[in-house]
Protein backbone atom coordinates (compact mmCIF):
# COMPACT_ATOMS: atom_id res chain seq x y z
CA UNK A 1 0.00 0.00 0.00
CA UNK A 2 1.42 3.36 -0.95
CA UNK A 3 -0.11 6.75 -0.20
CA UNK A 4 0.58 10.43 -0.22
CA UNK A 5 0.20 12.59 2.91
CA UNK A 6 0.12 16.33 2.77
CA UNK A 7 2.69 17.55 5.32
CA UNK A 8 0.08 19.84 6.81
CA UNK A 9 -2.12 16.81 7.54
CA UNK A 10 0.42 14.78 9.54
CA UNK A 11 -1.14 15.94 12.79
CA UNK A 12 -4.57 14.95 11.58
CA UNK A 13 -3.33 11.48 10.83
CA UNK A 14 -1.78 11.20 14.29
CA UNK A 15 -5.00 12.48 15.80
CA UNK A 16 -6.96 9.86 13.89
CA UNK A 17 -4.96 7.08 15.52
CA UNK A 18 -7.16 7.13 18.60
CA UNK A 19 -6.21 3.63 19.68
CA UNK A 20 -2.57 4.57 19.73
CA UNK A 21 -0.34 6.65 21.92
CA UNK A 22 1.80 8.53 19.43
CA UNK A 23 5.41 9.61 19.83
CA UNK A 24 7.53 11.85 17.66
CA UNK A 25 10.91 13.55 17.91
CA UNK A 26 10.95 16.73 19.97
CA UNK A 27 13.83 18.82 21.19
CA UNK A 28 14.38 19.72 24.84
CA UNK A 29 17.46 21.65 25.95
CA UNK A 30 19.06 20.80 22.62
CA UNK A 31 18.41 17.08 22.96
CA UNK A 32 16.23 15.30 20.42
CA UNK A 33 14.08 12.55 21.91
CA UNK A 34 10.91 10.69 21.10
CA UNK A 35 8.17 12.29 23.18
CA UNK A 36 4.42 11.93 23.29
CA UNK A 37 2.95 14.07 20.57
CA UNK A 38 1.48 17.21 22.03
CA UNK A 39 0.20 19.64 19.42
CA UNK A 40 2.04 19.64 16.13
CA UNK A 41 4.61 16.98 15.30
CA UNK A 42 7.50 18.06 13.09
CA UNK A 43 9.70 15.50 11.46
CA UNK A 44 12.65 17.76 10.73
CA UNK A 45 14.96 16.19 13.25
CA UNK A 46 18.52 15.06 12.45
CA UNK A 47 18.34 11.88 14.47
CA UNK A 48 17.25 11.50 18.06
CA UNK A 49 19.95 11.35 20.70
CA UNK A 50 18.71 7.93 21.74
CA UNK A 51 17.24 5.37 19.37
CA UNK A 52 13.68 4.18 20.01
CA UNK A 53 14.93 0.92 21.54
CA UNK A 54 13.69 1.96 24.97
CA UNK A 55 10.06 1.55 23.87
CA UNK A 56 10.37 -2.21 23.90
CA UNK A 57 13.43 -2.42 26.12
CA UNK A 58 13.17 0.35 28.69
CA UNK A 59 16.22 1.30 30.72
CA UNK A 60 14.34 0.15 33.81
CA UNK A 61 11.88 -2.71 33.84
CA UNK A 62 10.22 -4.13 36.96
CA UNK A 63 9.84 -7.90 36.58
CA UNK A 64 7.97 -8.57 39.78
CA UNK A 65 7.56 -7.36 43.31
CA UNK A 66 8.29 -9.55 46.29
CA UNK A 67 7.34 -9.63 49.92
CA UNK A 68 8.46 -12.01 52.59
CA UNK A 69 7.08 -12.05 56.08
CA UNK A 70 9.59 -13.49 58.52
CA UNK A 71 9.29 -17.26 58.62
CA UNK A 72 7.04 -17.45 55.58
CA UNK A 73 7.70 -18.17 51.92
CA UNK A 74 8.19 -15.12 49.72
CA UNK A 75 5.20 -13.90 47.74
CA UNK A 76 5.87 -12.73 44.20
CA UNK A 77 3.67 -10.55 42.03
CA UNK A 78 4.59 -10.30 38.38
CA UNK A 79 4.45 -6.80 36.90
CA UNK A 80 3.77 -7.11 33.19
CA UNK A 81 3.88 -3.98 31.05
CA UNK A 82 0.58 -2.33 30.17
CA UNK A 83 -1.04 -3.29 26.89
CA UNK A 84 -1.23 0.19 25.44
CA UNK A 85 -0.55 0.52 21.71
CA UNK A 86 2.25 2.91 20.93
CA UNK A 87 3.33 4.25 17.57
CA UNK A 88 6.59 6.10 17.00
CA UNK A 89 6.93 8.55 14.13
CA UNK A 90 10.13 9.65 12.53
CA UNK A 91 12.15 6.51 13.18
CA UNK A 92 15.29 6.49 11.06
CA UNK A 93 15.92 3.36 8.98
CA UNK A 94 19.09 2.53 10.89
CA UNK A 95 17.18 2.52 14.18
CA UNK A 96 14.45 0.40 12.68
CA UNK A 97 17.08 -2.09 11.65
CA UNK A 98 18.26 -1.97 15.25
CA UNK A 99 14.82 -3.08 16.29
CA UNK A 100 15.09 -6.10 14.01
CA UNK A 101 18.25 -7.10 15.86
CA UNK A 102 16.69 -6.54 19.27
CA UNK A 103 13.75 -8.71 18.20
CA UNK A 104 16.15 -11.52 17.39
CA UNK A 105 17.90 -11.28 20.74
CA UNK A 106 14.79 -11.23 22.86
CA UNK A 107 13.11 -14.09 20.98
CA UNK A 108 16.14 -16.33 20.75
CA UNK A 109 15.95 -19.53 22.82
CA UNK A 110 13.42 -17.95 25.16
CA UNK A 111 10.80 -15.37 24.61
CA UNK A 112 11.39 -12.44 26.87
CA UNK A 113 7.81 -11.77 27.92
CA UNK A 114 8.53 -8.23 28.98
CA UNK A 115 10.18 -7.32 25.72
CA UNK A 116 7.64 -9.20 23.65
CA UNK A 117 4.58 -7.75 25.30
CA UNK A 118 5.89 -4.24 24.79
CA UNK A 119 7.16 -4.95 21.28
CA UNK A 120 3.90 -6.52 20.16
CA UNK A 121 2.09 -3.31 20.94
CA UNK A 122 4.56 -1.11 19.08
CA UNK A 123 4.43 0.32 15.62
CA UNK A 124 7.30 2.23 13.97
CA UNK A 125 6.64 4.78 11.29
CA UNK A 126 9.98 5.51 9.68
CA UNK A 127 11.35 8.46 7.83
CA UNK A 128 13.84 7.91 5.04
CA UNK A 129 17.07 9.93 5.32
CA UNK A 130 17.19 12.07 2.21
CA UNK A 131 20.51 13.33 3.46
CA UNK A 132 22.63 11.64 6.15
CA UNK A 133 21.50 13.12 9.47
CA UNK A 134 25.02 12.86 10.89
CA UNK A 135 28.54 13.19 9.58
CA UNK A 136 29.22 9.73 10.95
CA UNK A 137 26.44 7.75 9.25
CA UNK A 138 27.63 4.50 7.66
CA UNK A 139 24.45 2.47 7.20
CA UNK A 140 25.37 1.47 3.68
CA UNK A 141 28.43 -0.45 4.79
CA UNK A 142 26.47 -2.58 7.27
CA UNK A 143 23.83 -3.79 4.89
CA UNK A 144 21.43 -0.96 5.50
CA UNK A 145 20.34 2.03 3.54
CA UNK A 146 18.98 5.49 4.23
CA UNK A 147 15.72 4.32 2.75
CA UNK A 148 15.58 0.86 4.26
CA UNK A 149 12.18 -0.29 5.44
CA UNK A 150 13.56 -3.16 7.46
CA UNK A 151 11.88 -3.19 10.88
CA UNK A 152 9.40 -0.49 10.02
CA UNK A 153 5.65 -0.68 9.75
CA UNK A 154 5.43 2.34 7.49
CA UNK A 155 8.21 4.12 5.63
CA UNK A 156 7.69 7.79 4.96
CA UNK A 157 9.71 9.72 2.42
CA UNK A 158 9.89 13.48 2.47
CA UNK A 159 8.91 14.86 -0.94
CA UNK A 160 9.02 18.52 0.01
CA UNK A 161 5.43 19.52 0.79
CA UNK A 162 4.18 15.96 1.24
CA UNK A 163 5.22 12.53 2.41
CA UNK A 164 5.27 9.41 0.34
CA UNK A 165 4.04 6.57 2.56
CA UNK A 166 4.67 2.89 2.02
CA UNK A 167 3.06 0.30 4.26
CA UNK A 168 5.55 -2.39 5.13
CA UNK A 169 3.52 -4.56 7.48
CA UNK A 170 -0.09 -5.35 8.19
CA UNK A 171 0.10 -3.05 11.19
CA UNK A 172 1.36 -0.37 8.86
CA UNK A 173 -1.53 -0.93 6.54
CA UNK A 174 -4.02 -0.60 9.34
CA UNK A 175 -2.36 2.62 10.57
CA UNK A 176 -2.71 4.01 7.08
CA UNK A 177 -6.23 2.73 6.66
CA UNK A 178 -7.25 4.47 9.87
CA UNK A 179 -6.26 7.73 8.21
CA UNK A 180 -9.06 7.30 5.69
CA UNK A 181 -9.30 10.26 3.33
CA UNK A 182 -6.25 12.01 4.73
CA UNK A 183 -4.10 9.81 2.58
CA UNK A 184 -4.31 10.13 -1.16
CA UNK A 185 -3.33 7.70 -3.79
CA UNK A 186 0.08 8.61 -5.16
CA UNK A 187 0.28 9.83 -8.70
CA UNK A 188 2.87 8.40 -11.02
CA UNK A 189 4.92 11.56 -10.58
CA UNK A 190 4.91 10.99 -6.82
CA UNK A 191 6.23 7.50 -7.28
CA UNK A 192 8.84 8.75 -9.65
CA UNK A 193 9.93 11.50 -7.29
CA UNK A 194 10.09 9.05 -4.39
CA UNK A 195 12.23 6.73 -6.41
CA UNK A 196 14.60 9.51 -7.37
CA UNK A 197 14.80 10.81 -3.81
CA UNK A 198 15.67 7.29 -2.70
CA UNK A 199 18.29 6.97 -5.37
CA UNK A 200 19.83 10.30 -4.41
CA UNK A 201 19.79 9.37 -0.74
CA UNK A 202 21.63 6.15 -1.38
CA UNK A 203 24.15 8.03 -3.47
CA UNK A 204 25.01 10.49 -0.69
CA UNK A 205 28.60 10.12 0.45
CA UNK A 206 28.99 8.26 3.72
CA UNK A 207 31.77 6.96 5.84
CA UNK A 208 32.45 3.30 5.20
CA UNK A 209 33.61 0.11 6.79
CA UNK A 210 35.93 -1.20 4.16
CA UNK A 211 35.31 -4.91 4.31
CA UNK A 212 32.19 -5.57 6.35
CA UNK A 213 31.72 -9.08 5.04
CA UNK A 214 35.22 -10.06 5.90
CA UNK A 215 34.98 -8.52 9.37
CA UNK A 216 33.81 -11.57 11.36
CA UNK A 217 36.69 -13.76 10.24
CA UNK A 218 39.25 -11.01 10.42
CA UNK A 219 38.17 -9.92 13.88
CA UNK A 220 38.30 -13.50 15.01
CA UNK A 221 41.89 -13.61 13.87
CA UNK A 222 42.65 -10.35 15.65
CA UNK A 223 41.62 -11.26 19.16
CA UNK A 224 45.14 -10.87 20.45
CA UNK A 225 45.98 -7.85 18.35
CA UNK A 226 47.88 -5.10 20.19
CA UNK A 227 45.78 -2.64 18.24
CA UNK A 228 42.91 -3.01 20.69
CA UNK A 229 44.80 -1.34 23.51
CA UNK A 230 46.22 1.24 21.17
CA UNK A 231 42.86 2.20 19.72
CA UNK A 232 41.19 2.21 23.12
CA UNK A 233 43.96 4.23 24.74
CA UNK A 234 41.81 7.30 25.26
CA UNK A 235 38.66 5.42 26.35
CA UNK A 236 37.32 6.75 29.62
CA UNK A 237 35.00 3.82 30.30
CA UNK A 238 31.72 5.68 30.16
CA UNK A 239 28.52 4.20 28.81
CA UNK A 240 27.65 6.66 26.07
CA UNK A 241 28.45 4.41 23.09
CA UNK A 242 26.33 1.54 24.24
CA UNK A 243 23.52 3.42 25.97
CA UNK A 244 22.95 5.37 22.76
CA UNK A 245 23.30 2.32 20.54
CA UNK A 246 20.17 1.01 18.80
CA UNK A 247 21.30 -2.59 19.19
CA UNK A 248 23.11 -2.85 22.53
CA UNK A 249 20.93 -4.87 24.82
CA UNK A 250 22.97 -5.97 27.82
CA UNK A 251 21.22 -5.71 31.14
CA UNK A 252 21.62 -6.24 34.82
CA UNK A 253 19.05 -7.57 37.26
CA UNK A 254 18.81 -6.17 40.74
CA UNK A 255 16.56 -6.41 43.73
CA UNK A 256 15.52 -2.96 44.82
CA UNK A 257 14.60 -3.47 48.43
CA UNK A 258 12.03 -1.05 49.79
CA UNK A 259 11.46 -2.46 53.25
CA UNK A 260 12.90 -5.09 55.52
CA UNK A 261 10.21 -6.04 58.05
CA UNK A 262 8.65 -7.59 56.11
CA UNK A 263 11.29 -7.83 53.41
CA UNK A 264 9.87 -6.35 50.26
CA UNK A 265 10.89 -4.78 47.02
CA UNK A 266 11.10 -5.21 43.28
CA UNK A 267 13.21 -7.25 40.98
CA UNK A 268 14.33 -4.81 38.36
CA UNK A 269 16.10 -5.07 35.05
CA UNK A 270 18.27 -2.11 34.09
CA UNK A 271 20.51 -1.54 31.12
CA UNK A 272 24.09 -2.49 31.66
CA UNK A 273 27.12 -1.65 29.72
CA UNK A 274 30.16 -3.62 28.59
CA UNK A 275 32.28 -0.46 28.65
CA UNK A 276 31.88 -0.03 32.41
CA UNK A 277 34.93 -1.50 34.15
CA UNK A 278 32.71 -3.37 36.60
CA UNK A 279 30.66 -5.08 33.90
CA UNK A 280 32.62 -8.32 34.04
CA UNK A 281 33.87 -7.94 37.60
CA UNK A 282 33.84 -11.27 39.43
CA UNK A 283 33.12 -11.60 43.14
CA UNK A 284 36.65 -12.88 43.58
CA UNK A 285 38.07 -9.59 42.43
CA UNK A 286 39.17 -11.08 39.11
CA UNK A 287 38.13 -9.11 36.07
CA UNK A 288 38.44 -10.98 32.77
CA UNK A 289 38.24 -7.72 30.84
CA UNK A 290 40.52 -5.59 32.95
CA UNK A 291 41.56 -3.05 30.34
CA UNK A 292 39.98 -0.53 28.02
CA UNK A 293 41.33 -2.52 25.10
CA UNK A 294 39.61 -5.69 26.21
CA UNK A 295 36.37 -3.80 26.62
CA UNK A 296 36.55 -2.05 23.27
CA UNK A 297 37.28 -5.40 21.65
CA UNK A 298 34.21 -6.86 23.29
CA UNK A 299 32.00 -4.07 21.98
CA UNK A 300 33.35 -4.24 18.46
CA UNK A 301 33.59 -8.01 18.22
CA UNK A 302 30.12 -8.45 19.63
CA UNK A 303 28.78 -6.27 16.87
CA UNK A 304 30.86 -7.52 13.98
CA UNK A 305 31.77 -11.06 14.90
CA UNK A 306 29.86 -12.81 17.71
CA UNK A 307 26.46 -11.49 16.74
CA UNK A 308 27.18 -12.33 13.15
CA UNK A 309 28.11 -15.87 14.14
CA UNK A 310 24.84 -16.21 16.04
CA UNK A 311 22.38 -14.42 13.83
CA UNK A 312 24.06 -13.99 10.45
CA UNK A 313 24.01 -10.21 10.53
CA UNK A 314 26.06 -7.40 11.97
CA UNK A 315 24.81 -6.02 15.23
CA UNK A 316 25.50 -2.51 14.00
CA UNK A 317 23.23 -0.46 11.80
CA UNK A 318 25.58 2.42 11.11
CA UNK A 319 23.73 5.19 12.91
CA UNK A 320 27.05 6.73 13.98
CA UNK A 321 25.92 7.75 17.48
CA UNK A 322 28.81 6.04 19.23
CA UNK A 323 31.19 8.00 17.01
CA UNK A 324 29.68 11.44 17.25
CA UNK A 325 29.04 11.24 20.99
CA UNK A 326 32.25 9.62 22.13
CA UNK A 327 33.94 12.16 24.43
CA UNK A 328 37.40 11.13 23.26
CA UNK A 329 36.91 10.32 19.59
CA UNK A 330 36.82 6.53 19.57
CA UNK A 331 35.49 5.78 16.14
CA UNK A 332 34.04 2.33 15.45
CA UNK A 333 34.49 2.71 11.69
CA UNK A 334 38.14 3.53 12.16
CA UNK A 335 38.56 0.74 14.71
CA UNK A 336 36.98 -1.95 12.54
CA UNK A 337 38.91 -0.83 9.49
CA UNK A 338 42.20 -0.62 11.28
CA UNK A 339 41.89 -3.97 13.05
CA UNK A 340 40.59 -5.84 10.03
CA UNK A 341 43.30 -4.35 7.82
CA UNK A 342 45.96 -5.63 10.15
CA UNK A 343 44.28 -8.95 10.79
CA UNK A 344 46.39 -12.07 11.06
Amino acid sequence: MEKILDKQRLDDWIAALTDWEAFAPAVEDGVWAFRPVVGAARLDHPNTKQPPKGFAFPQREVFFSFEQIKGEAPRLTQKLPDSKHRVVFGVRPCDARGTVRMDRVFADHVDDVYYQSRRNNMAYVGLACNKPPSAHCFCLSVGGSPVSSDGLDVLMTDLGDRYFLAAITETGKSLMTTAGDLLKMPAAADRKQAASVHAEAVAQPQRAINNPDGAPARLKASFKSPLWEELAQACIGCGICTFLCPTCHCFDINDEVTGSAPLKGNRVRTWDNCQFPDFTMHTSGHNPRPTVGARLRQRVCHKFQYFHENFGMHQCTGCGRCISDCPVGIDIVHVVNKVTEHAG
Binding site: V62, E256, T258, G265, N266
Partner: protein, 144 residues
Protein backbone atom coordinates in the same frame (compact mmCIF):
# COMPACT_ATOMS: atom_id res chain seq x y z
CA UNK B 1 -3.77 26.28 58.15
CA UNK B 2 -6.03 24.13 56.04
CA UNK B 3 -7.50 20.89 57.34
CA UNK B 4 -5.33 19.01 54.93
CA UNK B 5 -2.25 20.62 56.37
CA UNK B 6 -3.47 19.82 59.85
CA UNK B 7 -3.87 16.15 59.02
CA UNK B 8 -0.55 15.81 57.25
CA UNK B 9 2.23 14.68 59.53
CA UNK B 10 5.69 15.27 58.08
CA UNK B 11 8.28 12.57 58.65
CA UNK B 12 11.53 13.93 60.01
CA UNK B 13 14.84 12.20 60.51
CA UNK B 14 16.80 13.95 63.26
CA UNK B 15 20.55 13.33 63.46
CA UNK B 16 21.62 14.26 66.96
CA UNK B 17 25.12 14.28 68.28
CA UNK B 18 25.54 12.07 71.28
CA UNK B 19 27.09 14.58 73.65
CA UNK B 20 25.00 17.73 73.34
CA UNK B 21 21.88 17.45 71.25
CA UNK B 22 20.90 13.94 72.23
CA UNK B 23 21.51 14.90 75.84
CA UNK B 24 19.48 18.06 75.23
CA UNK B 25 16.59 16.01 73.95
CA UNK B 26 16.92 13.85 77.07
CA UNK B 27 16.56 16.98 79.15
CA UNK B 28 13.41 17.89 77.25
CA UNK B 29 12.15 14.48 78.30
CA UNK B 30 13.16 14.83 81.91
CA UNK B 31 11.44 18.23 81.92
CA UNK B 32 8.37 16.62 80.31
CA UNK B 33 8.29 19.30 77.61
CA UNK B 34 5.75 18.13 75.03
CA UNK B 35 6.60 18.44 71.35
CA UNK B 36 5.42 16.77 68.15
CA UNK B 37 6.45 13.17 67.54
CA UNK B 38 7.35 13.68 63.89
CA UNK B 39 11.10 13.61 64.38
CA UNK B 40 12.72 10.23 64.92
CA UNK B 41 16.17 10.68 66.41
CA UNK B 42 19.30 8.92 65.22
CA UNK B 43 22.16 9.43 67.62
CA UNK B 44 25.58 9.81 66.01
CA UNK B 45 28.90 10.37 67.77
CA UNK B 46 29.33 13.92 66.52
CA UNK B 47 27.77 16.32 64.05
CA UNK B 48 31.14 16.09 62.30
CA UNK B 49 30.43 12.46 61.49
CA UNK B 50 27.33 13.28 59.46
CA UNK B 51 28.05 12.65 55.84
CA UNK B 52 26.08 14.68 53.31
CA UNK B 53 25.02 11.31 51.94
CA UNK B 54 23.00 10.70 55.12
CA UNK B 55 20.92 13.75 54.34
CA UNK B 56 20.45 12.90 50.68
CA UNK B 57 19.65 9.33 51.62
CA UNK B 58 17.00 10.38 54.15
CA UNK B 59 15.30 12.49 51.49
CA UNK B 60 15.66 9.65 49.00
CA UNK B 61 13.96 7.30 51.43
CA UNK B 62 11.08 9.68 51.84
CA UNK B 63 11.89 12.02 54.70
CA UNK B 64 9.82 15.20 54.49
CA UNK B 65 12.41 17.01 56.54
CA UNK B 66 15.91 16.37 57.84
CA UNK B 67 17.18 17.88 61.07
CA UNK B 68 20.80 17.98 62.16
CA UNK B 69 21.84 19.05 65.60
CA UNK B 70 25.17 19.31 67.34
CA UNK B 71 27.06 21.04 70.09
CA UNK B 72 27.45 24.80 69.98
CA UNK B 73 30.62 26.05 68.36
CA UNK B 74 33.42 25.77 70.88
CA UNK B 75 31.66 23.07 72.88
CA UNK B 76 32.26 20.07 70.66
CA UNK B 77 33.14 17.02 72.71
CA UNK B 78 35.59 16.17 69.97
CA UNK B 79 36.97 19.71 69.89
CA UNK B 80 36.33 20.59 66.27
CA UNK B 81 33.88 18.11 64.81
CA UNK B 82 31.13 20.70 64.64
CA UNK B 83 33.39 23.15 62.82
CA UNK B 84 33.91 20.53 60.14
CA UNK B 85 30.17 19.84 60.12
CA UNK B 86 29.29 23.51 59.79
CA UNK B 87 31.30 23.86 56.59
CA UNK B 88 30.13 20.62 55.00
CA UNK B 89 26.51 21.11 55.93
CA UNK B 90 26.54 24.65 54.66
CA UNK B 91 27.57 23.32 51.27
CA UNK B 92 24.89 20.63 51.08
CA UNK B 93 22.28 23.11 52.26
CA UNK B 94 23.27 25.49 49.47
CA UNK B 95 23.16 22.68 46.96
CA UNK B 96 19.70 21.56 48.05
CA UNK B 97 18.41 25.09 47.69
CA UNK B 98 20.12 25.44 44.34
CA UNK B 99 18.21 22.55 42.81
CA UNK B 100 14.97 23.92 44.19
CA UNK B 101 14.36 21.89 47.33
CA UNK B 102 12.45 24.09 49.74
CA UNK B 103 14.94 25.52 52.28
CA UNK B 104 12.54 24.64 55.09
CA UNK B 105 12.98 20.94 54.43
CA UNK B 106 16.43 21.00 55.91
CA UNK B 107 17.44 22.42 59.23
CA UNK B 108 20.47 22.52 61.42
CA UNK B 109 20.66 23.64 65.01
CA UNK B 110 23.07 23.78 67.88
CA UNK B 111 21.42 22.33 70.97
CA UNK B 112 23.46 21.92 74.13
CA UNK B 113 22.81 19.36 76.82
CA UNK B 114 21.22 22.13 78.87
CA UNK B 115 18.82 23.20 76.15
CA UNK B 116 15.96 20.76 76.45
CA UNK B 117 13.43 23.49 75.82
CA UNK B 118 15.35 24.61 72.77
CA UNK B 119 15.32 21.14 71.29
CA UNK B 120 11.56 20.92 71.78
CA UNK B 121 11.17 24.31 70.16
CA UNK B 122 13.37 23.40 67.22
CA UNK B 123 11.21 20.36 66.52
CA UNK B 124 7.97 22.32 66.99
CA UNK B 125 9.10 25.04 64.63
CA UNK B 126 10.35 22.56 62.08
CA UNK B 127 7.08 20.64 62.05
CA UNK B 128 5.12 23.87 61.73
CA UNK B 129 7.30 25.00 58.82
CA UNK B 130 7.05 21.63 57.09
CA UNK B 131 3.30 21.26 57.25
CA UNK B 132 2.46 23.86 54.61
CA UNK B 133 5.00 22.27 52.25
CA UNK B 134 3.22 18.93 52.15
CA UNK B 135 4.95 15.63 51.37
CA UNK B 136 8.44 15.76 49.92
CA UNK B 137 8.42 14.13 46.50
CA UNK B 138 11.32 15.84 44.81
CA UNK B 139 14.08 13.59 46.04
CA UNK B 140 11.95 10.70 47.20
CA UNK B 141 12.46 7.47 45.32
CA UNK B 142 9.45 6.13 43.50
CA UNK B 143 9.78 2.44 44.25
CA UNK B 144 6.87 1.13 42.26
Amino acid sequence: MSEEEQAYEPKIVAFLCKWCSSAGSDLAGVSRIQYPANATPITVPCSGSISPLYILSAFNKGADGVLLSGCHIGDCHYIEGNYLARRKIYLIKELLEMVGVEPDRFRMSWVSAAEGAKYAQVVKDFVADLKPLGPQNKLKADRT
